[in-house]
């Protein structure tokens, strides 16, 4: 799966979890840059990502992410 396709699907997950159809994310953004991306929605973002791509992360992987680009790289590595 190409990185762009992963990004598109991750964007949809963010819109759904954060309940914002107009949200446009970019790879450089992190939790501090996006309204409503708090510790609880973070959990749901991970859960929905695992379900969408049928993958499983471990907690140490997630803790190393600094932005959405890191998240997409981690997804790429598991596909």
């Amino acid at each position: 799966m190409k990185r762009q396709e992963i990004f598109t699907r991750v964007s949809s997950i963010f819109r759904e979890v954060l309940e914002d159809d107009s949200l446009n994310i970019n790879e450089k953004e992190g939790a501090d840059d996006i309204d409503d991306w708090d510790s609880l929605t973070h959990i749901m973002l991970i859960v929905e990502t695992e379900k969408e791509f049928k993958i499983k992360f471990i907690s140490s992987e997630i803790s190393n992410w600094n932005n959405i680009g890191d998240m997409i790289t981690a997804i790429e590595d598991k596909l």
Binding site: H42, I43, I46, K56, I58
Partner: protein, 134 residues
């Protein structure tokens, strides 16, 4: 600790809808709607007697999650409930809970639940998401 939970694990708990319980919930919630406290009005509306506040069942969920799971290091993140049939005084409810999702990376467990009465009727059903706090 999440290893104490497995997909499709199920749990059951029984609750009796006693007068003390209903009085306590009515005082706590302040919900004294005539449908909940007046048998005559409830019967006029087509029910067999006063209808107990459905949200009492959310208290049972709170008790179940806080006190009945294999570990107590948990917190509720999400809970929804669909009320299917009325709840009456002296009903006996059987809470049946099944694990439908385990997300180890974030310590999240997802449950489906049903409350079933002594007549085997589904009174309510819903979903709970809890996070381990360890």
């Amino acid at each position: 600790m999440i290893s104490k939970f497995n997909l499709e694990d199920s749990f059951e708990q029984e609750f009796k809808i006693s007068e003390d319980l209903v009085d306590g919930f009515t005082k706590l919630s302040g919900d004294k709607n005539p449908l909940h406290v007046n048998d005559i009005i409830a019967i006029q509306k087509g029910f067999k007697s006063k209808v107990i506040q459905g949200n009492l069942q959310n208290c049972f969920i709170s008790y179940f999650i806080g006190e009945c799971l294999p570990i107590k290091d948990v917190m509720i993140l999400y809970q929804d409930i669909n009320f299917k049939k009325p709840l009456y005084l002296y009903d006996v409810l059987f809470l049946k809970v099944t694990i439908i999702g385990i997300y180890e990376s974030v310590g999240l467990i997802v449950f489906n639940f049903k409350f079933i009465n002594q007549l085997d009727e589904v009174i309510s059903k819903g979903k709970i998401k809890i996070k381990l706090t360890i």
